[in-house]
Symmetry: C2
Subunit: 576 residues, 2 copies
C-alpha cells in the first residue's frame, strides 16, 4: 500500500504555495457555484444537492487523489447518466429519486475503490480515443438538447434524442417569452464571453492567462444580472422558472438506509458512471500532469475518485468526478496542490450556509445556458474528420457510439462503442497480413516483394506473418501458406520470418506443427527466423525445435546465407 | 455463387469409385444403425427419429457439402445439446418435445445456410483449440454420466454434473440387476473390441485397415447378442428397459407449423448447436481432406450442413452434423465420393421400412454402452497436460470451459470458453512487450539487450515494441517509453523499431504524437524504423511523417548508421 498522497505534498507545503492555491480556489469557486446548481438541475435534483456534491468530495480527493490540480465535483456527462439511471427507478422530484442518486454515488465510490485496490485502472483502456471522442461529442449534443426545455420554459421528457425532440416539438407552442429572452440572451452572452471577451481584455493590457481566467467568471456575471432582472421585474410571476427557496445549511453526513434490491438494479449504471468518470478524470489528469512533468497513478486515481464519491454520497450529494473545464481553470489559475480544492470546498460550504437566499430568483434558463455553452465546446468535429481519414474501423466505432448515444442513450452508446472496437480488433487479428519477402539489394534487410525491388532465392522461399499467431487466425495463416506453396515449385526450404509474431497460443502452435508436417510430406524443410525471445521461450517448453524439420535462425539473413549460400554470395558481391 | 459441389464429382464418376463407395456405405450403415438409435435416446427422442435423421440429411449433404468423405447424421454432443435446449421448452416424451427438436433442426439449418451465404465461416475461429478440446472432453464425461441411468435401469434427470450425480446417488438403490449385467457386459465387450480385438484379427492375417474397420461392427454384434438374450429369456419382464415397438415406415416430409414464440426461444441454442456442429464437422473435414491432398471450403461446408439440417427437420429428424468417428470409418473403408452417403441413406431407409421389428427387444442399456464407449474415447488428458505446459492462459480457458460444461451445462461452457479466450487475448495486447535493443556484434541485426550480448550507442536509444499499437495498450506503451527515458540521459535521438507493430489505430496514433511531442520538449528527435507497409500507408494518410521530429528509416541498421556514424563505423570494423 503506497503512502497517502496527501502526505507527499503536505510535507513540503510553503506560504508561497498557499497564496497560489488561495487565488485558484477563489476563481474555481466562482466558476463552480453556478455549475454545481446547473448540473444538479441536469441530474433532475434540487439545486442545493449540487452544492453538497462540491464540498466533501473535494476534501476526500485532496487526501486520496494523485493529481495536484484536478478539480472534482458534478460534471455534465455524469449528471446526465445519473438522471437516466435514477429516473428508471424513481419518480423525478420524489425523495426516492434523491435517495437513489445518493445510493448511486455510494455504489460508484465502492466500485472505484474496489477497482483501485484490484489495480484495475487498465479497464479505462477499453475505451478507445475515437469512442471517447464520439461519446463526448454525442453526449454534449444530447445534454444541450435536454436543456432547451429550460430555455423555452416548457416541459420536455426523455434521455435520448428521439424522445427529447418529439417532446420539444409537441410543447413548442407553450414557449414562455420572458424565459426564452433570458435564455437566448444568456447563451449569446456566454458565447461572446468565450470568444470575444478575452481578446478585448488582452487589448486593454491584461495578461493572456489572466484574461482567460477572468472569462471563466462569465457565468457568474450572467447569473447576477439575470437574477437581479427577475427579482426587480418580478418575472417569476410571468412564468419564468426560478430556482426558488433553497434550504440554507449543510446536511448532516449520514449513512443512508441500504436498499439491496435497489442497489442491485443500479449496479450496471454505477459501473458505467464509474468508468466514464474515471476516463474523463484520468484524461484531464494526464494532460495537466504532463504540462508540469508530474505524473498521476491511474490506480491511485481510482481510489481518490472512489473516496470522493463515497464522500459525496455520505454528504447528501450525487456522483462526481474530475471535471475537464474546472480542472483547466484551477491549473491556469495557478493551483499548486490539492489544498486549493479544500479551500474551494470551504467556500462552497460557506455559500451553502449563508448565500442561498441570493439564488431564490435565479432563473433556471441561465443555468441551462451555462450548461449548453459549456458542453457545446466539447463537440469536436475536427476529431471526427481526422478519424475518418486515418482509420475506417475506428470511424465506424466512433459513429456507432455517436448514433447509439443519440438514438438510444448514453449507457448503450458507450457499451456499443467498446463492443464494436473489440470486434474490429478481433477481425483485424483474424485477417493477418502475410507477405512473401526478398532481400533489398546491397543490404541484409528483407521486405515484401510486392512493395520493394527485392531479390529472391529460387529454392528457399521466405514468408513473413504480420500478426500474433492465435486461435483467431491460425487456419487463415495455414491457408495463406498453402496458397503461397501452390505458386512456388521446386522448393527445398521455407523460412518463416517471425519478427511480427509477437505471441503464439496453443492453437497457433498446432498450426505451426501442421504446416511443418505438411511441408515435410512435400519434402520441404521448415525454418523460423528472428523469433522473439518470449515466443521462443514458449515454443521451447514443448520442445518445438525438436519437431521442426528445419532450424531456428537468429536473423533472417543468417537463414538465407546458410540455406542458399550461392544466393547470399551473389548478394555479397552486389553489396560491394 | 460457386457450382453445386455434386456437379464436380458426379461428372467424373466411375464404376471403380462405385464399388469403393458401396463397400464404405455398407460398413458405415452397420455402424450408424445402433448409433442413430442411441443418439436419439441421448436427445430424449423416440429411437426411430435417429433413423430419420440419418436419411435425408445424408442426401442433402451429398448435393451441397464440399467434403468427399464426411459422414453426417446425429452426433453425441449435438444430441445432448438438443436434449438440454428442448427440455427447457417441452416435457420429455411429449409430441411438443419432438416438435421442438424438429424446429431446432430447421432453425439450425437456416442459420448455417445464412452464415454460409454471408461467408461467415471464420466464426468457427472464435473457438480456440484448447477450448474445443476441453469442450469435447467435458461433454464426453457429461454424456457418459447421463447414460449411466440406462446401465443401472434407474431414472436420472439433469444436463449438468451436479444434478446428474445427485440424481444417480438418490436412485442408486433401485438398480435393476439384469439391466446392470447387460450394460456392464456391453461396455466391457465394446472396450475389448476397441483395444483387444484388432491385434487378434491382425494376428490371424487380416489386413490392418480391414481389421480396424471390422472392429467398428462391435456395437452391432453387441446389439444382436443382447437383443437375442432379452427376447429368449424375456428379460424385459424382469425390468430391462427395451426399445419397444418402433412404428415401421418413413415419415412424409412435412413443413411443421411454425411457432414463432418457440422459435425465438430456441434461437440461442440453435446458434450454439450450429457453431459446435460446424466446428466438429470442419475439424474432421480438414483432417480427412489433408490426408488425400483435397481441400474443403468452410463456407460451402456451412451450406452443406445447413441443407442437411433443413432436410433433417423436414424429414422428422433432429439436428445433425458431420461426425468424427463415422467419417473416419467412411474414409478408412475407402469411400471416394458423397455417393457413399447416399447409399448409406438408402440402406437406413430400408432399415426403417423393414427391419424395425428386429429392434423391439433391443435393451436400452446396450445403446447406452455404445454411447459411453464412443464418447469416452474422446476424453483427451494428454491434450490438457500439453496445454498446461505450453500456455497458462490457454489452460485457464480450457479449464474454465471444462468446469462450466460440467457444472452448469454445455452451452454456458462454450460461451465461457470463448469469453475467457478473448479476455486473455485482450489482456495480452494490453500488456505489450517492450525491449531496449542493441546491435549483435558483427551483424546488422538488433536484439533485446537483456537477452543478447549487444552494443548500444551512447546517444541514440533504440526501443522495440512487440505489439500492435492500439487503444488497449497505447497508455501502457507511453509509460514504458517514459520509464526507459528516465533511465537514459544525454540522448539526442530515440529510434522505435516497428517490425513488431503490425497495426496502428487512431488511439495508437495519438500516442505516437504524444511521445513525439514529449521527446521534442526534451530536445530528443523521434525516429521510426522498419515500419511495415500497411502501417506506413495508414500513417501517411494523416501526414504523420510531417509531424515527426525525426525520420522514418527502411531498416534499423540504416537508422543507426545515419544517426550515429561513429557507432556504426565501430561496428563495421568489428564485423570484418
Amino acid at each position: 500500500m503506497p503512502r497517502l498522497p496527501i502526505l507527499n505534498w503536505l510535507a513540503h507545503y510553503s506560504t508561497e504555495k498557499l497564496s497560489d492555491d488561495t487565488v485558484a480556489a477563489v476563481i474555481v469557486t466562482i466558476m463552480l457555484i453556478p455549475q454545481s446548481l446547473a448540473y444538479a438541475m441536469l441530474a433532475g435534483l434540487p439545486p442545493e444537492v449540487g452544492l453538497y456534491a462540491s464540498i466533501l468530495p473535494l476534501i476526500a480527493y485532496a487526501i486520496f487523489g494523485s493529481s495536484m490540480t484536478l478539480a472534482v465535483g458534478p460534471v455534465a456527462v455524469v449528471s446526465l447518466m445519473t438522471a437516466a439511471a435514477v429516473s428508471q427507478v424513481a419518480a423525478p422530484g420524489s425523495s426516492a429519486y434523491l435517495g437513489a442518486a445518493i445510493l448511486l454515488a455510494l455504489l460508484s465510490g465502492v466500485m472505484l475503490i474496489g477497482l483501485g485496490l484490484a489495480r484495475a485502472g487498465f479497464l479505462a483502456n477499453l475505451l478507445s480515443h475515437p469512442v471517447i471522442s464520439g461519446f463526448i461529442s454525442a453526449s454534449a449534443i444530447l445534454i444541450a438538447f435536454s436543456q432547451f426545455k429550460h430555455i423555452l420554459g416548457i416541459p420536455v421528457i426523455g434521455h435520448d434524442m428521439p424522445t427529447i425532440l418529439a417532446s420539444l416539438w409537441q410543447n413548442l407552442g407553450a414557449t414562455n417569452l420572458p424565459t426564452f429572452v433570458i435564455g437566448v440572451a444568456s447563451i449569446g452572452f456566454l458565447f461572446w464571453v468565450r470568444s470575444g471577451l478575452k481578446p478585448k481584455l488582452v487589448q486593454v493590457g491584461i495578461r493572456e492567462n489572466l484574461a482567460g481566467t477572468l472569462t471563466k467568471a462569465g457565468p457568474v456575471m450572467a447569473v447576477i444580472v439575470t437574477t437581479a432582472c427577475v427579482a426587480v421585474f418580478t418575472l417569476d410571476q410571468q412564468g419564468v422558472s426560478i430556482v426558488g427557496v433553497i434550504p440554507p445549511g449543510l446536511p448532516m453526513p449520514t449513512l443512508p438506509a441500504l436498499d439491496f434490491a435497489l442497489a442491485r438494479e443500479l449496479i450496471p449504471a454505477a459501473f458505467l458512471i464509474s468508468l466514464v468518470g474515471f476516463v474523463e478524470s484520468v484524461s484531464v489528469g494526464h494532460t495537466l500532469a504532463a504540462r508540469r512533468r508530474e505524473r498521476i497513478q491511474p490506480n491511485q486515481e481510482l481510489i481518490g475518485l472512489g473516496a470522493a464519491n463515497l464522500a459525496s454520497g455520505f454528504g447528501g450529494g450525487f456522483p462526481v468526478t474530475g471535471g475537464f473545464s474546472r480542472s483547466v481553470v484551477n491549473f491556469d489559475a495557478g493551483a499548486r496542490t490539492p489544498l486549493a480544492g479544500v479551500m474551494t470546498a470551504v467556500m462552497i460550504a460557506l455559500t451553502a450556509l449563508f448565500l442561498t437566499p441570493l439564488f431564490e430568483f435565479l432563473p433556471k434558463a441561465v443555468l441551462a445556458a451555462t450548461v449548453i455553452v459549456a458542453v457545446l465546446s466539447l463537440v469536436d468535429l475536427r476529431a471526427i474528420h481526422r478519424v475518418w481519414v486515418f482509420s475506417k474501423p475506428d470511424f465506424v466505432a466512433m459513429a456507432t457510439t455517436i448514433a447509439i448515444v443519440l438514438g438510444v442513450g448514453i449507457e448503450a452508446g458507450i457499451i456499443a462503442g467498446v463492443v464494436v472496437s473489440i470486434a474490429f480488433l478481433l477481425a483485424k487479428i483474424a485477417r493477418p497480413h502475410v507477405a512473401v519477402i526478398g532481400q533489398i539489394p546491397g543490404t541484409q534487410h528483407y521486405r515484401n516483394k510486392n512493395r520493394h525491388e527485392v531479390l529472391q532465392s529460387e529454392k528457399v522461399l521466405a514468408v513473413r506473418l504480420d500478426e500474433m499467431l492465435y486461435f483467431l487466425n491460425g487456419h487463415t495463416f495455414e491457408d495463406a501458406v498453402g496458397e503461397v506453396l501452390s505458386e512456388n515449385t521446386n522448393l527445398t526450404d521455407l523460412v518463416l520470418l517471425c519478427h511480427g509474431i509477437n505471441e503464439i497460443d496453443a492453437s497457433g502452435l498446432e498450426v505451426l506443427e501442421s504446416i511443418n508436417a505438411r511441408l515435410d510430406s512435400l519434402g520441404i524443410r521448415f525454418h523460423l527466423s528472428e523469433v522473439k525471445g518470449p515466443v521462443m521461450d514458449r515454443l521451447e517448453r514443448v520442445g518445438f525445435k525438436g519437431h521442426l524439420s528445419g532450424q531456428v535462425f537468429l536473423s533472417h539473413y543468417d537463414a538465407m546465407s546458410t540455406l542458399d549460400p550461392d544466393f547470399a554470395n551473389a548478394e555479397t558481391e552486389l553489396a560491394k
